[in-house]
């Protein structure tokens, strides 16, 4: 039924068709509410990509999703389903924040940032360790344990924020705001090099770190011996055993890397934007990461693109809600749902049709 299609069709045309279909249905919903769908799409696109600040926000959100998406993707290659990105990122925020709180009065940002990044990754990894260990050693299902660890992370963080980290006399359960040195620089230089004005967008150097993480994950998975072991274990555990790959070791290491990536995500909101440890700092990015990883087919480039798509939906959606008060923020969630549905769940819907339409043309190409 499915002919082999050229890569540009599989990776370019079909995703575009899917996206278009999602937007079409979203447009119908918008029309039902009595607003102009075209205008809505224009607002989303314009809001997400049309001007500097919008682009800045899009990339800011995308930064979060890249990290959490990569976290899920790495685990996925080992056949592990890490639903715990949310909790790992939350606890990672504690690591990042503690590093900043401890050092922001002594060191410059470029010395604090690596420490904070390491701390975030280490805390995130630590939060992934037990579920990994239990899965590898005791056979407890990693999906459940990571879900449970999400709840535990929330509980731990509320406790710490309210009882330990909160500023005396302040209302909000959050840590003190970091000094200047506890803040990551913004990317104005990069944006203006691209001809944009970043404006108020909190885009910061953790975006560059996210890009580096994409390269890192790509190299790890496809270029290293460890990555080879991870993929082998994920694709065929029996063959992995045969090849002398220790399942416990691979499971634990993979989850540590996955949790570390999720923990790194906290760098963006904590050190890059809010400059303090605050409630719910992961803000659902851990869950969006699942969709991002799956839509990006667990490939870093795909994750990057999917993350930008989601970032654009977040930012463009906010813009839409702003400009069209009748469209509430819930509409944005609906649009996200439709995009995930069409680009993910129904991704093969148009494939047979495309294959049939392109068949005569492709055959000629072959011959």
């Amino acid at each position: 039924m499915n002919a082999q299609l050229p890569r540009w069709v599989d990776l370019g045309l079909i995703p575009l068709l899917n996206l278009a279909a999602a937007l079409l249905v979203a447009g119908l919903v918008v029309a039902l509410i009595g607003q102009s769908p075209l205008e809505a799409v224009r607002l989303i696109v314009q809001g997400a990509f049309g001007y500097g600040e919008g682009v800045g926000f899009t990339l800011f959100y995308a930064t979060n999703f890249i990290f959490t998406g990569l976290a899920v993707a790495v685990a996925f290659h080992a056949g592990l389903f890490n639903i715990g990105g949310e909790g790992q990122a939350y606890v990672g925020g504690l690591g990042v924040g503690l590093a900043c709180l401890a050092l922001d009065r002594w060191l410059p940002w470029w010395l604090i940032a690596p420490v904070a990044a390491l701390a975030g990754a280490a805390f995130g990894a630590a939060w992934a360790f037990l579920p990994a260990w239990f899965q590898a050693r005791r056979g407890s299902h990693i999906v459940i344990t990571t879900i449970m660890f999400n709840f535990l992370a929330a509980t731990l963080m509320v406790y710490l924020l309210v009882n330990v980290l909160k500023v005396e006399g302040a209302m909000a359960p959050e840590s003190r705001t970091f000094e200047q040195a506890g803040r990551l620089p913004r990317l104005d230089w990069l944006m203006s090099a691209l001809g944009y004005e970043q404006g108020g967008a909190p885009l910061n150097v953790s975006f560059l770190l996210a890009l580096a993480a994409c390269v890192f994950v790509w190299a790890l998975i496809w270029r290293t011996r460890l990555g080879y072991e991870i993929r082998t274990f994920g694709a065929n555990p029996t063959a992995a055993l045969y090849a002398g790959i220790d399942p416990v070791r691979v499971t634990v290491i993979t989850m540590l890397i996955s949790g570390g990536l999720a923990g790194l995500m906290a760098l963006n909101p904590v050190m890059g934007d809010q400059n303090r440890i605050f409630l719910d700092l992961a803000g659902g990015a851990g869950f969006v990461g699942i969709a991002v990883a799956l839509m990006g087919r667990a490939h870093p480039l795909g994750v990057l693109l999917a993350a930008v798509l989601f970032g654009a939906l977040y930012q463009g959606g906010a813009e839409l809600a702003f400009e069209m008060p009748q469209i509430t923020r819930d509409m944005v969630v609906v649009i996200q749902g439709l995009v995930v549905l069409f680009a993910g769940g129904l991704e093969f819907m148009f494939r047979p049709l495309v294959a049939r339409l392109l068949a005569p043309f492709l055959r000629r190409e072959e011959g």
Binding site: N2, F134, Y159, D330, V333, G337, L338, G344, L346
Partner: protein
């Protein structure tokens, strides 16, 4: 002491009911090889539909019907994605969750203008508590009265439905043609196909069952346990139910006990708050709240061996590659 125990158990029953319905829903789907991470969304959509319909038409039964209908529709959408078009089941489930969260709030606001809430439901629009025979008479008999009148009697009809569904599901899976085929299609769809049965049809039936039960659970949430729909009111129950399903290794009767366990932990946590315990004294609220999750992890790591999921779970059935 005994009374306190009865009250905790009573609360356990109430809290486990939506978990159990959703857990069994997931069981139908996953035993047929369709992983369903969208349980949460279907539960939420069901809760919304039930409350909205009950508010408009004034009857919880119409609400239940609407909930079941809407949840089945979402389940079929999930099916369309991962049965017909062979998409990724997890992505499709995630999409359902997003859609349900967004659409319930959006439609709720559009229809009722109460910020995504449905109007508060009056007693006649909700499922009331059923009083079983003799509940009044026995109420004052020690022990038995507590058990019969408090614990067993006085729940909504959906509670009895949920607890009846566990054995019914067991019987259906084990004793009927439908059940045999459903289990087979989750283990080896190719075997089902070569036996001349349509894999797609079986899987669609399974996800429809899943939708129906999620709908019932939603109706319970919004028209029995509470009196109306609130945005995001499912509060993660779909995921806990999924955990219970894995915990129970995809078997109906253990699923019931797993849900009861989760319900019990929750009920206990609710009642332990602020109570001064021996040895530790009054524990921080957070610790108590974390207890169910901690215990789950401990139980999983300690007592439950590796679970073997239905073999074909998560894999779309592809005959010709």
């Amino acid at each position: 002491m005994f009374d306190a125990a009865i009250l905790i158990l009573d609360s356990t029953v109430r809290l486990s009911t939506p978990l159990l319905l959703v857990c069994l829903a997931g069981l139908y789907s996953e035993r047929a090889g369709v992983i369903d991470i969208g349980l949460e969304g279907k539960l939420l959509a069901g809760a919304f539909a039930a409350a909205a319909a009950a508010a408009v038409f004034g009857s919880p039964w119409i609400g239940l019907a609407a909930a079941v209908g809407v949840s089945i529709a979402l389940a079929l959408l999930h099916g369309l994605g991962c049965i017909t078009f062979r998409g990724n089941q997890i992505v499709s489930g995630v999409a359902i969750n997003f859609l349900a969260a967004g659409l319930t709030a959006l439609l709720g606001q559009a229809w009722f203008s109460q910020g995504g809430r449905t109007p508060a439901l009056g007693p006649e629009q909700r499922f009331g508590e059923l009083s079983l025979p003799l509940a009044q008479t026995l109420a004052d008999v020690p022990v038995l009265g507590g058990i019969w009148s408090e614990l067993i009697s006085g729940h909504s009809i959906l509670v009895y439905l949920a607890f009846a569904m566990a054995p019914i599901t067991w019987w259906t899976l084990g004793r009927t043609r439908f059940g045999l085929r459903l289990r087979a299609v989750g283990e080896n769809p190719a075997a089902v196909d070569t036996a001349g049965i349509s894999v797609a049809r079986m899987r669609y039936l399974a996800v429809a069952c899943c939708g129906a039960l999620c709908g019932a659970a939603g109706a319970y949430l919004s028209t029995a346990q509470s009196a109306g729909f609130i945005k995001d009111m499912s509060a993660g129950k779909g995921f806990i139910a999924l955990a219970a399903l894995i915990f129970a290794k995809w078997r109906p009767i253990p699923a019931m006990f797993a849900c009861l366990l989760f319900g019990f932990l929750d009920a206990a946590a609710i009642r332990l708050q602020g109570v001064s315990l021996p040895v530790i004294g009054s524990a921080p609220v957070e610790l108590i709240q974390a207890l169910p999750y901690l215990l789950t992890v401990v139980l999983l790591a300690g007592f439950i061996g590796a679970a073997r999921p239905p073999r074909a779970g998560g894999v779309p059935y592809v005959k010709e590659r």
